[in-house]
């Protein structure tokens, strides 16, 4: 840990169009084309879209039918979660070689606290550039890096570093965006209020009610007004964020009490298949983080927020500790079906707690085979089928790019 007066150096590294980029590594002939990873059946959901596809308004969690309508030329590929987890582990290895303080947020993004690495690796700009070039050289993928003195501002900064999918073409982004210590407040001041962490449509409407539209309006709001409208704790929280202040430490999974992942949807999800696809994606990310940290969970929890902002959680604790997406999905599926029947979802979250060593009682009739690899091959298959239906796996190998 660093001294009290010394600003921290936090990197938020976000892979560029991760699933799609992984696919392009093995299908370079598709580079430059609109590519969509996800189910292309009637009920399929987009898991990821290339920047070329995003230009046409395609985004993740969108129904594949809609994506097809918006971008008829797009090449649809089935998701290969096993592969994404493997590549994610390679990226993680690069992070781990830069700093021992890595907090993964998903398969494709992580915080790195590199405060202690400066003596060895140089100035923040040099460290950020090093991470980008090493990920490019060693894994072959692009990423964007936000650098700041805290997690909140670093994450906002990485968005500014991203490639831009404009109507007239895809432009490379800045790659690295650094917010120098002291500049946090002015950086945040230029952003719309809904970019602040915790400001959803409901809070946004309340802020609009009291005339707050820009971030500086929060700072300048008379004491008590903000708090009266959205609550004391949320008000104090927003005032700090509006000044670019965030004291949360970079927390490694190894030291965490739980590992979780959640997603707020662009539009509410009412369809069970779409919700299930999101569950699989979140479970996949949580499971990958468990395995990376050599942990397994005895408890898994589903969290949902309904369109009316009511939040519900459902936990399952049973059987052997688990560390695969299939096991998490199997345990949480009944709860998901139940909550989806109650109303459209605005947010879905999966978390793993009660963390223990990933031990597994071996079975007499599986001995002699390389059990873990055997398991994961099965699981990869199961996961694709669980997500895209049983027929999808048959189509995958015979899939032809639709390049017209």
């Amino acid at each position: 840990m660093t001294g009290a007066g010394e600003p921290r150096v936090i990197l938020h590294v976000d892979m560029d169009a991760f699933y799609v980029s992984v696919e392009l590594l093995r299908r370079p002939e598709l580079i430059g084309l609109p590519v969509v990873v996800g189910g292309d059946g009637n009920r399929g959901v987009v898991a990821a879209a290339s920047y070329e596809a995003r230009r046409h308004g395609v985004h993740s969690a969108m129904a594949s039918v809609t994506a097809r309508r918006r971008c008829p030329d797009a090449v649809f590929l089935p998701a290969d979660h096993q592969r994404y987890a493997e590549v994610s582990a390679q990226v993680r290895a690069v992070f781990d070689s830069v700093s021992p303080h890595v907090e993964p947020l998903a398969l494709d993004e992580a915080f790195l606290d590199v405060t202690g690495a400066r003596a060895l690796l140089g100035e923040p700009i040099e460290i950020a550039t090093l991470v980008r070039s090493r990920v490019a050289d060693e894994v072959g993928l692009g990423c964007s890096v936000g650098v700041a003195s805290n997690k909140f501002v670093a994450k906002l900064a990485s968005v500014e570093a991203k490639p831009i999918a404009a109507a007239d073409g895809v432009r490379p982004g800045r790659g690295v965006v650094i917010v120098a210590p002291g500049d946090e407040a002015s950086f945040v001041a230029g952003l719309p209020v809904e970019r602040l962490w915790g400001v959803g449509p409901k809070t946004l409407a309340r802020l609009h009610d009291i005339g707050i539209r820009r971030v500086p309006d929060i700072v300048e709001a008379p004491p008590g007004l903000l708090e009266a409208r959205i609550g004391a704790a949320a008000g104090a929280h927003l005032r700090r964020l509006a000044l670019g202040i965030d004291d949360r430490p970079v927390e490694t999974d190894r030291t965490a009490k739980s590992i979780g992942q959640e997603e707020t949807f662009g539009s509410d999800v009412a369809d069970l298949d779409a919700a299930r696809a999101e569950l699989v994606r979140l479970a996949d990310a949580v499971a990958a983080r468990l395995r990376t940290s050599t942990l397994a969970a005895r408890t898994v929890t589903l969290k949902v927020k309904f369109a009316d902002f009511q939040t519900v959680t459902r936990s399952v604790t049973e059987g052997a500790p688990l560390d695969t997406a299939v096991e998490i999905v199997t345990r949480l599926e009944p709860a998901l079906a139940e909550v989806v029947s109650r109303g459209a979802l605005r947010l879905l979250g999966v978390s793993a707690s009660n963390l223990v060593e990933p031990v597994r009682q071996l079975d007499l009739w599986s001995s002699g085979t390389d059990q873990p690899a055997h398991d994961s091959a099965d699981r990869a298959l199961d996961e694709i089928r669980a997500r895209f239906g049983r027929s999808s796996i048959g189509r995958a190998s015979g899939l032809k790019p639709r390049t017209r």
Binding site: T294, R298, A320, V356, V359, Q361, L362, L364
Partner: protein, 364 residues
């Protein structure tokens, strides 16, 4: 119908037969009762859940003949709580009176007409010495699966070949196999799959007996021990082939005192909470046991042992390991290991008639 019996004796037969009447709250209320039959001065008490039937007989003072079904648990509890001495039971269609000294209970019987008809064994019995069978069952039944979802594994396979009779049970994590010398139990090539639950009852009764009569039918097996008869349905289905699971050779074997290992395991298990395995560190003339539960603590035990093989760590479910060590005969247990991912074998030193095969727990 009316009979008289010593409280101790009556309580005992009621308790024995009640262990068959486990269908409380089932579809047929009459199965929560035991059937009482008195004839020729003998009381026969029967409890059944249709899968397992336990029938116990005892001489009583009576010149009447009759039958009734009475609540199993209630009747057993009443008789057990009576003062020592003679108990008188009088049954009419409406009630059962139980009297002893100055105590008097009246209990409403269940519908005799609804009680299922239970057949008599149709095959000729074989006689086997009780001690051999008791020992074999003690060693094998523990490895059967309690999971009704895998019915075949809830049974114990009893199979005869030219070399003798083999008893085998597995829950797919461990396997117990015991050889019995060829007697007259079965013909070579015959095999039956007997529910472990029934054999547990057999085992309870064998301790006090000299010998046991066994009838093996197509659908049922009947075990007669003294005045108790246990009838069980046999399990249908193909038992998995376990013979090819038993490795031909083991490069690493450790020999350690059985009681010392059991004691050490008992202590280490205090810290092996939840799914925590116990790790065995095998090295030159030493066996080290350890268990680590995250955020709780750790335990370790050192034991004198003779070891030949490579240094390695193998982890096991402590409950399964302790069950295996407890099952082997003799003062010393031999644990043979291939590697941390392959099955280990436990045997009693010099006791080749029994083996306990156990799959390790994979640890990171």
């Amino acid at each position: 119908m009316k009979f008289r019996c010593e409280r101790e004796i009556l309580a005992d037969v009621l308790a024995t037969a009640s262990r068959g009447a486990t269908n409380s709250g089932g579809t047929s209320p009459v199965l929560s009762g035991v059937r009482l039959d008195v004839a020729d001065g003998v009381l026969t008490v029967t409890g059944t859940d249709l899968e397992l039937t336990i029938r116990a007989s005892v001489p009583v003072g009576s010149d009447s003949t009759g039958s009734a079904v009475v609540p199993a648990r209630l009747t057993a509890d009443i008789v057990k709580s009576l003062p020592a001495g003679s108990v008188e039971v009088e049954l009419t269609d409406e009630q059962m009176m139980i009297r002893a000294q100055r105590s008097e209970f009246s209990v409403r019987p269940l519908a005799l007409a609804d009680y299922p008809t239970l057949g008599e064994p149709s095959t000729e019995p074989f006689t086997v010495p009780a001690a051999d069978m008791a020992d074999a069952l003690r060693q094998v039944v523990r490895a059967a699966s309690p999971d009704e979802g895998r019915v075949v594994l809830t049974g114990v396979l009893i199979a005869a070949d030219d070399d003798g009779v083999k008893l085998a049970a597995t829950d797919s994590y461990r396997l117990a196999v015991r050889d019995l010398p060829q007697g007259s139990l079965m013909r070579s090539g015959d095999q039956v799959l007997v529910p472990a639950r029934a054999l547990n009852e057999v085992q309870r009764l064998l301790g006090s007996a000299e010998e046991m009569r066994v009838h093996l039918g197509e659908l049922d097996a009947v075990f007669e021990i003294g005045d108790v008869r246990i009838t069980t349905r046999l399990i249908k289905g193909d038992y998995p082939n376990y013979r090819n699971l038993i490795p031909a050779s083991y490069p690493n074997t450790v020999t350690v005192g059985r009681d010392a290992l059991l004691e050490a395991l008992r202590r280490v298990r205090i810290l092996a909470q939840g799914t925590t395995p116990v790790r065995l560190l095998l090295g030159a003339d030493q066996l080290q046991l350890s268990a680590i539960t995250t955020d709780v603590g750790e335990a370790s035990e050192h034991l004198d042992a003779s070891y030949s093989g490579d240094e390695m760590t193998v982890a096991f479910n402590p409950e399964y390991l302790a069950a295996g060590v407890d099952a082997v005969a003799g003062d010393e247990v031999v644990i043979a290991v291939i590697d941390p991912m392959k099955p280990a074998v436990l045997r009693g030193a010099g006791h080749d008639e029994y083996l306990y095969l156990l799959m390790p727990v994979r640890v990171p």
